[in-house]
């Protein structure tokens, strides 16, 4: 059975159809990428899985449960975590606290335990803190736990965001452009990191990415969106040879010259 199954998903904003009757499914332990030109509806697709917008029509099923009408916190309860294209950390909280927020659902201390700071609450906090340190060293942020999130460098913030997502022990981890703003060397490191992540954390990864090298080298399967519609899906090889995809990307490249290189790279790889 597919881990995530989306059927006929549609969303319109005003007169604009952002997502039009998209079918999508992915298996457990896969890495699947969603690609497409700017404005293709990729982030909208993520946002709908996350429960940010009400679904106009269609269904989203995860692990046998319907997510279609759920709020973000209910979606999180099914262990779906995500990051954001424009990093969204809790800026004025400490690095460790950012991750501790991700542990919210795991902590069981009631309000009485907390107000009296009973031993079991303290033990739970200590255990959570140990896990925070593990996660921090896993993403290479050991020693940064006491800093404010906003004081981290860009690359560190990206990694903290991933660590925070890992804190909810995700069955499905959704990464929205994890390589955005990284240089080629860092992008390669990110690729290795994502591959290792899947195995170390035993999770499933759904990815939005512009960087074609990353996508092609990483994904088990790729889904291509254009103007809110799914125009192709398959293995990286199949996508590379798909004429419709090439046309969609080239069309965008002509219309949008000032693009920051992500799409240019797409053109190269696809050609």
């Amino acid at each position: 059975m597919a881990l995530l199954e989306v059927k006929g998903l549609t969303k319109t904003f005003g007169g604009l159809t952002a997502i039009n009757s998209v079918d999508f499914s992915m298996e457990e332990h896969q890495i699947v990428s969603v690609i497409g030109p700017n404005g293709a509806g990729k982030t909208t697709f993520f946002n709908m899985i996350s429960g940010y917008y009400p679904v106009d029509s269609g269904t989203i099923t995860f692990d046998g449960h319907s997510l279609t009408k759920l709020t973000p916190e209910k979606v999180a309860a099914y262990r779906i975590a995500r990051t954001f294209q424009n990093i969204r950390l809790f800026q004025n909280m400490l690095v460790a606290e950012n991750i501790l927020v991700g542990f919210y659902m795991n902590l069981k201390a009631g309000i009485g335990d907390i107000i009296l700071r009973l031993p079991r609450m303290r033990a739970e906090e200590r255990a959570a803190y140990d896990k925070v340190m593990e996660l921090l060293s896993y993403v290479g942020l050991a020693g940064k736990e006491g800093e404010l999130a906003k004081n981290l460098s860009y690359g560190q913030q990206r990694r903290l965001e991933i660590a925070r997502a890992l804190a909810i022990a995700p069955k499905l981890l959704m990464l929205d452009e994890p390589a955005a703003g990284l240089n080629p060397r860092e992008t390669e490191e990110m690729k290795q990191f994502i591959l290792r992540l899947r195995d170390d954390m035993n999770t499933t990864i759904l990815l939005i990415e512009h960087d074609m090298k990353l996508v092609m080298g990483l994904s088990d399967r790729i889904t291509v969106l254009n103007y809110g519609e799914k125009i192709a899906e398959g293995t990286p090889e199949e996508i590379r040879g798909n004429e419709q995809v090439v046309r969609a990307y080239l069309g965008v490249e002509e219309a949008d010259d000032e693009e920051d290189g992500g799409d240019a790279a797409a053109g190269e790889v696809l050609a």
């Binding site: 709020t71 916190e73 907390i114 906090e125």
Partner: protein, 431 residues
């Protein structure tokens, strides 16, 4: 970690980072800390000595010595010097009591405004609910509508009413929060303001058809607290009660702050949508913040009613909510010590400095030294001063005098060290 300008740090005694200038500051502070309480003890009615004494408390807070020593000094000042002074000077005991009361209120409002980032402009309404809860039953007022019981209840009930009013106000906060908490920012602020006005108008008008609140006339007399047959109606009694409540509140709020609940609150303030995506039940957490804050206000309302022995709707206007907001903004939103110091500063300004200046100028006028027209009386310019505080703080120091500083409670308390690489290798080195 960067050294906070106002907080002592480990640098205090290592001798290397302690320059001559720091020694001078330390010396001056030590003099103030020792001299001011002695001065006040020697001259228990002197306003200047009292303000010096309050300033010495600030010095204790800022002093660069180990925490236990600062705690000891604070305990001596608050629990020994102040009650002794208060026993002979009711005015100062009263001012100290009011400072502590507003300290609790500011800590409560800070949960909503500072931690959770929701602007509540109707905080005085919850204070009113608490005050009326006690006032109605600890006076003859309850006779008008209660089918059973003998009223006024004795002052022994005061203690139970602290809890009861907390629950009632907390519940009112919950009821208000239920529909309004999905509103954003300034809309929420305006709704809480409207709600508070409604509560005040209800208290003002509920003298018919059944006389519950006695309308604009207010309720009086109200029973003071009692322990068995001992009446606790001296200013110094209230001081001790309220000081205890302030300490209790501080510990409870700090424990909440350093827990999953407190972190959820701040996460909501920082980015509500992301907090939800991390599984934080935002509505429940906001309701909790609202209810706890309301409950604390309710508890203080009981003390207020008992202490004044009189309540009427004019004590719970929009102005009252703004005064408390001022304390939070002045001290530093989200900073617990900050908002208490904010309360201290605002109350000293309101009850000591403005009043003293006003009576001093009046005495000059009566003595014929100065012809001060009544419109220049400083006591009349509370609104102007609070307005200026709000505007100036917003423009120049939006984080307050003592900005929020987040510390890793767990690490400090448990002496944990960062564990060595446990889960795998570092993802990538800093580029």
């Amino acid at each position: 970690m960067a050294q906070h300008p106002l907080r002592p740090g480990p640098a205090a005694f290592d001798g290397k980072t302690f320059a001559v200038k720091d020694w001078i500051v330390l010396g001056l502070m030590a003099v103030v800390i020792l001299a001011a309480p002695l001065w006040l003890m020697a001259d228990k009615g002197n306003s200047v000595a009292f303000i010096a004494f309050l300033a010495s408390l600030l010095c204790v807070y800022r002093l660069r010595v180990p925490a236990w020593l600062r705690l000891l000094l604070a305990v001596v000042d608050l629990a020994v010097v102040m009650p002794l002074v208060g026993a002979s000077s009711g005015t100062f005991a009263h001012v100290a009591t009011v400072i502590c009361m507003y300290g609790v209120l500011a800590l409560g409002l800070n949960i909503v405004v500072g931690f959770t980032g929701l602007l509540n402009l109707g905080y005085a309404a919850f204070y009113a609910v608490g005050a009326y809860t006690y006032a109605i039953f600890a006076s003859t007022q309850a006779r008008n509508f209660m089918p059973f019981g003998v009223y006024p209840l004795s002052g022994n009930w005061f203690w139970l009413f602290l809890l009861l009013a907390m629950l009632v106000s907390g519940f009112v906060g919950f009821l208000l929060g239920l529909p309004v908490l999905r509103l954003k920012g300034d809309y929420l602020a305006v709704v809480t303001l409207g709600f508070a006005e409604i509560i005040r108008l209800l208290f003002n008008n509920l003298s018919k058809p059944v006389n519950i609140t006695n309308g604009p006339m207010g309720i009086t007399p109200i029973q003071p607290p009692m322990i068995f047959s001992l009446r606790l109606d001296k200013p110094v009694h209230y001081y001790v009660i309220v000081l205890a409540l302030l300490l209790l509140t501080f510990v409870v709020v700090r424990n909440l702050q350093n827990s999953r609940i407190g972190r959820a609150w701040v996460a909501i303030r920082e980015d509500e949508l992301v907090a939800r995506t991390m599984g934080v039940p935002v509505v429940r957490m906001k309701l909790l913040a609202f209810s706890i804050a309301a409950g604390l206000a309710g508890m203080m309302g009981v003390v207020f009613a008992a202490m004044q022995s009189y309540v009427d709707p004019t004590s719970f206007t929009f102005m009252e909510s703004i005064v408390i907001l001022c304390m939070v903004i002045l001290g530093g939103t989200g900073s617990m010590t900050g908002v208490i110091i904010g309360a201290l500063a605002v109350i000293v300004l309101q009850l000591q400095i403005l009043k003293d200046a006003s009576s001093y100028l009046t005495s000059l006028t009566t003595a014929g030294i100065l012809n001060l027209p009544s419109w220049l009386n400083p006591a009349k310019y509370e609104r102007l001063i609070f307005g200026l505080i709000l505007v100036l703080m917003c423009i120049f120091r939006p984080n307050g005098l003592i900005p929020e500083k987040r510390v890793l409670q767990i690490k400090e308390k448990l002496g944990l060290k960062p564990k060595a690489d446990a889960g795998g290798n570092a993802a990538s080195k800093e580029g």
